[in-house]
């Protein structure tokens, strides 16, 4: 999705009368650690709980795209200041009827994993292990930084006919509360 379309969507969605409730995703554990080679690494354990509507769509072959948005910016940054770091981890979960397995496909590396059960697939989906965020050297040492992590089901990646309904129906607004952490390198 281009940036303009994304902004336009965001602006227009802001005008919509309904609110997007944060539910279906929770952060069980998040850790930012400094590796030996001076990189800041992210470890996370994210729990996904798909409701009946979304599960039904998954079982019927609708691919679900989950996006983990990792954002880091100066704590005192102006609103127009760009982020220090922005990662979007996008993973597609879908059910393959031939094998009867759930498949996770990492859109960054095009890596595919097959799982016999949905829970196993969701567990793997929720595991972020030692994801490099940024080199510590790239940060100002006397500056506070705000790390913000948010996970959501990307409605725009759903098949076209489902999007209007997904925007309107609350069942489809699967997202986490934004998790924020103040960091001084």
């Amino acid at each position: 999705m281009t940036r303009v379309a994304r902004i336009l969507t965001a602006v227009l969605l802001f005008c919509l009368p309904f609110t997007l409730a944060a539910e279906g995703v929770e952060f069980r554990r998040i850790a930012l650690t400094l590796s030996e080679d001076g990189r800041i690494l992210l470890d996370a354990d994210i729990g996904y709980d798909l409701n009946e509507t979304v599960s039904e769509a998954l079982e019927n072959g609708v691919p679900l795209t989950f996006e983990t948005h990792v954002q880091m910016r100066r704590a005192e940054a102006w609103i127009w200041e760009s982020d220090v770091v922005e990662h979007r981890l996008r993973t597609v979960l879908r059910y393959r009827p031939l094998s009867g397995m759930y498949e996770l496909r990492n859109l960054q590396g095009n890596e595919r994993l097959a799982f016999a059960t949905r829970d196993a697939a969701l567990r793997t989906l929720g595991k972020i292990v030692a994801m490099p965020v940024i080199d510590r050297a790239a940060l100002e040492l006397d500056e506070d930084y705000l790390v913000r992590i948010m996970v959501q089901l990307d409605i725009e990646s759903l098949p076209l006919p489902m999007r209007p309904i997904a925007y309107i129906k609350g069942d489809w607004s699967i997202s986490s509360e934004p998790w924020e952490w103040r960091l001084r390198p």
Binding site: N60, L98, S99, M101, A114, P161, P164
Partner: protein, 729 residues
Amino acid sequence: MKGRRFDVLAAVMLLALLLAALHMISAAVQRSEDLGQWFVPLLLFTVVGLVLLFGLIGWNLWQLLRDYRRRVAGSRLSARLTALFLVLAFVPVSVVYFYSIRFLSSGIDSWFDLQVDSAMEDALTLSKVSLDLHKSERLRLSKTLLDSIEDTSQTAMALNINDLRQASGAIEMTLFTTHGKVIALSHQNPDILLPTPPDSGMVQQVVAGEDYIGIATDADGNLIIRSLVLDDKQRGIVLQAMYAVPASLSELSANVQDAYETYRTRAYMRSQIKFSFALSLSLVLVLGLFAAAWAAVFTARRLVQPISDIAEGTRAVAEGDYDKQLPLPRVEDELGFLVASFNAMTRRIARARNALEENRRKLQTQHNYLETVLGGLSTGVMALDADGRIQTANRAADQILGLPVAELEGKDLRVLSMRNESLEPFVERTLEGIRRGLREGRAEITLYRGSGRQVLLCRHSSLDTGEPAGLGHVIVFDDVTELMKAQRDAAWGEVARRLAHEIKNPLTPIQLSAERLRHKYLKSMPAKDAEVLDRATHTIVQQVEAMKAMVNDFSDYAKPSKLQVKPVDIDALLAEVMTLYEGAPQHMVLDAQTNGLLVEADPVRLRQVLHNLIKNGLESAGANGTISVSSRSGTEEGSDFVEITVCDDGPGFDPGLLGQVFEPYVTNKTKGTGLGLAIVKRIVAEHGGIVSADNQAEGGGRVVFRLPAARRRPAANDEPAPRQQGRSS
């Protein structure tokens, strides 16, 4: 005008944008991979645009409704046209929409029927069965391979596994301990150093004693068979082998799976697809309807605008604003022609109005001019209609007739005589002229007014007013009383003066000659002749004296008098004069009733009047006659007067001379100059009075003269004591 143009431009731009958005929505639906991301923004944009358009139409309709309620010109027609256009647009569009939705719904439903459902299921099952065969072969191969590993040391196994993988044609082969620790790995790609990790479920299943065989997809989307088998020799190792599915089978199976997935997803999304299509169609419908509604309002207003203008213009013309010009519509159609005709009409009406106004003004000027001229005339002018009703009269008419004639406009002429009896001769003569249908006529009318005799010289002429009611009449009259009197007086004065001059001059030589004859010859002549001469000269001298007296009378008459005016008590004057006749043989009666009213008069001249009248009466009455002198006071036309009447019981005036008794030298007596009554009239006239003579019913002449009263006698003497005086001889 500019604001309206801007409105139209904004509305057209909004419509164009919405149309473009709908087109892009349609494109996004068809090419979801390229434009799919724009679908929802476009949808939202369209909805917002439609809401704006709805607001615009609502505002226009509200304005229309407001105008309709206020009964603004053209609003009713606008409302009717708008309603008509809306119905014309709504009905067909609604019908098309209804059937489109039905066709769409049934069309989408027809994609998914039971036969296709089962066919898809069967195809998938067939693929599964085909793959299952392949899988079971691979599972067996994997078990065989694991059994073939004789070594117990992990190093030997690691060395061995590469040969085994190459021999079996597997893609990847990994040896794990049951705890998940990798013992050995062989991959057809030597760069890959990490095995594909089995998920915990698979490992648990294998450790529990049940081998795992499954289908997975590699990074390129190719199907691969994954098998996990437990070592039967109790060595605690698990072999994971990944085999490529034969390309043909893989491709076919992948196709079947993709088709099945697509079908299944679509079947699941059936209601959503219907909803999306219905939504798009509804948006198109709403856009179409809104565009039609807006166009209906706009077109109706535009069509009705010239008619509204004409209605406004007509109202303005009805209210008298003839300068109203309407804006010409840009399009030259019948309405434009109508507006142009209306403008031409108002221009002509305005010109006609201006001309009329100019004429009216001229007429008014002429009327004013005429009124001024008539007002300035000393001649009375009165206009009557065919029925003798007063139409107009000038100031002189008011003055001459002594009535506000102009205020009696529209009333019958007889109202004049009703208001003032003395005007009856004037009214009757005028009406008689009208009755007789005379076109022109002249008459001299004498009125006996309170203030005295008034002679009017009237001219009457018909007036052709051009009205169907008939002819009108103009009465022009002059008060010639003074003129006639002056003329007559002047004429008689001239006669008297000439007589006096021509006769008086030879009288003295005649008298002197007669006296000289007498003086010279009387003594010298014989007595008989002397007697004749004496008698003859005596007669001559006597007659000359008489002639002198007569000539003096004429001279008196002709002589312009100078009045020595002072307040005179008439009753006292009468009593004084009557005493002079106490010795007369006739019976003298005085009845004084003026109640002490004074007149401004010259008492000497007034005495002369009384003497003349009494002497006339005495001469007429004879020796045993009775002379009655009476006075009274009265009021006529607001002015007081004193009336003195002298009657006798003689033979009275000759009826044939009655009209001229006051003319000089008119007399039926053997004696006298005939100037007595003329002098009476002259003196009375000099005092502003009138005198008249007639015969009494019981016989005998009567002369009445009236003088304007000045004021009353002072209060001390204001005792009305009627003086009765009588004496019989």
